[in-house]
């Protein structure tokens, strides 16, 4: 899934909420998001984040 945020002002933040329904019966669901921009980001660190949810019975 791709979300276009437009211009993110310096010092600003934006949030994306992704709502799903769990179909798995067990295991761990991992959501990974990566942000990029036309504006160079020479540091290149911290642009990818992952959240994990363990499915329990």
């Amino acid at each position: 899934m791709i979300c276009h945020l437009g211009t993110l002002k310096s010092g600003d933040a934006g949030r994306i909420h992704i709502k799903v329904t769990v179909r798995a019966n067990n295991g761990t669901i991992r959501d990974t998001a990566t942000v990029t921009s036309v504006t160079p980001d020479p540091r290149g660190t911290g642009n990818t984040a992952t959240a994990a949810t363990k499915i329990i019975k």
Binding site: I18, K19, V20, I29
Partner: protein, 158 residues
């Protein structure tokens, strides 16, 4: 640029003719040679043909008035004529959060927080999100705080 100054003009959109802006001249380094505008239009920089100094200015978004920054000049590595380019620089970061556990059939919300620590604006910021493949979710999903609605996300399945 004349007499160690930088001057501003308005451009007539219809004719292309220039007209001097009021109070539109400010001092620069000696023998100003090159001027570069930041892509976001907020700053201008002028190099000189003599010495190794660069003048830096802020540009008012409201009036367009150009004002020296503090310090008004900075030293450049090379003296005399040098090239001048302005490269914007963003500092993006992503943080993802979700409940630590969930039950089968339960609605689950992932939140992705995107920040730009600057100093420049992040143009055309895009988030690519990956969830494990699964059947389409029937649950409605709110759009990002400042983004248009997207197609439904797949449900997580493992």
């Amino acid at each position: 640029m004349l007499n160690h100054t930088v001057s501003q003009y308005r451009i007539n959109a219809a004719t292309g003719a220039l007209s001097r802006r009021p109070a539109s001249r400010t001092s620069t380094v000696l023998a100003p040679e090159l001027i570069a505008l930041a892509p976001d239009g907020k700053n201008a920089y002028v190099t000189g043909d003599v010495g190794n100094l660069l003048s830096q200015y802020g540009i008012s978004p409201a009036t367009g008035k150009i004002t020296p920054l503090a310090p008004a000049t900075v030293t450049t590595p090379a003296g005399g004529s040098i090239g001048l380019a302005v490269t914007p620089d963003a500092n993006l970061a992503a943080k993802a959060s979700a409940p630590a556990t969930a039950l089968h059939g339960q609605a689950l919300t992932y939140t992705i927080k995107i920040t730009d620590a600057g100093p420049s604006d992040a143009w055309q910021a895009t988030v690519a999100d990956h969830l494990p493949a699964g059947p389409p979710s029937a649950a409605p999903r709110p759009p990002a705080d400042n983004a248009p609605p997207q197609a439904p996300a797949p449900a997580g399945r493992q």
